[in-house]
């Protein structure tokens, strides 16, 4: 029973963590992309289409990543090259993504999907409890954990990561030092898009293997909020994603169990608990300020 609950929590938390990790990198580079929901749903439709057309869910997964990344390129072109307002462009990207995915996915509605098969890791998967939970998962779960470790290492232990953070904190100085602000930001935006696309692929290939218009149902926005509440720290995003997922699933179990707490209150809990916990772990205002990319959302035009 507990194992079953934990499995459900992992499935629910994985897309949030993946999409939030992508957005975290984008925002650390100083770009605020509010189009996560749109990129996610584009990833979902591309992944489903890819899997349907080839019969191979892995191809679908790649299609989802590529779809998300290409879609984010549109955002990059508009905000970085044409220097449009990032907030407005991001919102437009979400609206466009929701509409466009509906259009692209019209032929796939109502078709039973193919589920991404789990990858069983030998030996480790035989450990009681932990084995089936952590080592018999599909590839998106492994990727989500790899992303957290990888992004954390990249941002705080690698030279390129340092440059990326420098750009996010002060693009003028970074530019003066000869770091290519625009190019790095393009890559960061595309990384965010690829992650959102991967998260979308998880939705249409693992979570609910089907294509329904609007199926991300606000998960992109939750991922966005997680980044801020986690004060731009990868491990906190992981914690936040799992707290949100866990409380969301547990409240359903509480209802099915019949504990008699109003369901509206229970439905609110994931949001409330996640916010409270993340506020507590990032209560130190000074470290929070240090972690906040100072140039977040500000346009950059290189002076020549």
């Amino acid at each position: 029973m507990i194992e079953a609950i934990l499995l459900t929590i992992i499935t629910a938390a994985t897309p949030l963590v993946i999409a939030a990790m992508g957005e975290l990198v984008t925002e650390r580079a100083g770009v605020l992309n509010l189009g996560v929901e749109g990129m996610m749903i584009m990833g979902a439709v591309c992944a489903f289409a890819g899997a349907q057309l080839t019969g191979l869910p892995l191809v679908g997964l790649v299609a989802g990543i590529v779809g998300g990344a290409l879609f984010s390129l549109l955002f990059g072109f508009l905000t970085l090259t044409l220097v449009t307002n990032q907030v407005a462009t991001g919102l437009a990207l979400t609206l466009l993504g929701l509409g466009l995915s509906g259009q692209l996915g019209e032929a796939f509605v109502g078709i039973p999907g193919v589920k991404l098969a789990p990858i069983v890791i030998p030996v480790l998967s035989d450990i009681p409890v932990v084995g089936p939970l952590l080592f018999r998962q599909d590839i998106t779960f492994y990727l989500s954990i790899a992303l957290v470790i990888g992004v954390n290492w990249f941002l705080f232990r690698s030279r390129t990561g340092l440059k990326l953070r420098a750009i996010g904190d002060n693009h003028g100085s970074a530019h003066a030092l000869g770091i290519s602000v625009i190019r790095t930001r393009y890559l960061a935006v595309m990384f965010g898009g690829a992650c959102a696309g991967l998260a979308g692929a998880q939705l249409s290939l693992v979570y609910t293997p089907q294509w329904v218009e609007n199926m991300s149902a606000g998960r992109g926005w939750i991922a966005l909020a997680l980044v801020v509440f986690a004060s731009w720290r990868p491990w906190r995003v992981l914690a936040g994603g799992y707290i949100f997922g866990a409380v969301g699933i547990l409240q359903l179990h509480a209802q099915a169990f019949g504990i008699g707490v109003p369901s509206q209150f229970l439905s609110m809990l994931p949001y409330a608990v996640t916010i409270v916990v993340l506020i507590i772990i990032s209560h130190n205002r000074r470290t929070t300020l240090i972690n906040t990319p100072a140039c977040l959302g500000k346009p950059f035009v290189p002076d020549r």
Binding site: A12, L98, I111, V212, M215, G218, L252, P262, S263, Q264
Partner: protein, 357 residues
Amino acid sequence: MKKLIIALAATAAALCSTVPGAQAADKTKVCFVYVGTKTDGGWTQAHDLGRQELQKALGDKIETPYLESVPEGPDAERAIERMARSGCAVVFATSFGFMDATVKVAQKFPNVKFEHATGYKAAPNLATYNSRFYEGRYILGQIAAKMSKKGVAGYIASFPIPEVVMGINAFELGAKSVNPNFKLKVVWANTWFDPGKEADAAKALIDQGVDILTQHTDTTAPMQVAAERGIYAFGQASDMIAAGPKTQLTAIVDTWGAYYIKRTKALLDGTWKSEQIWDGLKDGILTMAPYTNMPDDVKAMAEETEAKIKSGELHPFTGPINKQDGTPWLKAGEKADDGTLLGMNFYVEGVDDKLPK
């Protein structure tokens, strides 16, 4: 010069007013506002199929613009008002949560007709229409009680509104008519449309030991989970057999087309009146999907019940019925009146849940 400006302005105004609906002049606009997407596989899809039927039947006289994914709440008012302003002769608002918004817009536009699905507030230019879904849910309950080995079904509910509560009660009553000890676990998803959350709710219920699943939310995700876990489930609003060929026992299928055609014809004839319509299985506004994946005796029972409901011999809410806390509600032989059903805010005995207020 002044004349030129006036001429230009007039032309611009003329262009503006004619371009958006180039055919609006000769065709009546019959408009639809949807809460979900028209391809959700459930509730909204059923309405859109009705709209398509209408378009096919009267396409030479009307056009049928629609708005999808309109959230319930303040946005709904804006969307419905936009429809009214754009020259719609009638606006069908197809979700319970659009009720107050539709009432407000109907007051502002006395010359536009409004029809609100599943609500209870009417006005001279605002009709309501509804389907007696509970008739179908009673049949589902009977089938569930026959097919469940554990005697517990799971119910994924959306919002605690009378419509949904009525459905839960009808299901429980149907089940109890077969197995008096049948239990029903209810999970409120607090959404109509979120495949992920609906799937989570389905998993939670199955993990807690239910072996039959029924839903009052709009997507096929719960059906899919049921198929994956190897239990039976019922479709909602549309036939969901594609999502679970070996899983779906039957589905309550909404068939709005005939109603939309009837009302639009009345509008064109000038005989449209504000009415409160509540049709059921016998009127064809609600049909049962083929009874599949069950033994012949269960199928025969379901068909018999369906026939009895159609003939009026059986009313699902016929006493003796107790409320959840055991206090009597209906005396033996007494039938619930429509008013009580439409405002239903209590459970009948046997529902294992506390009703959110």
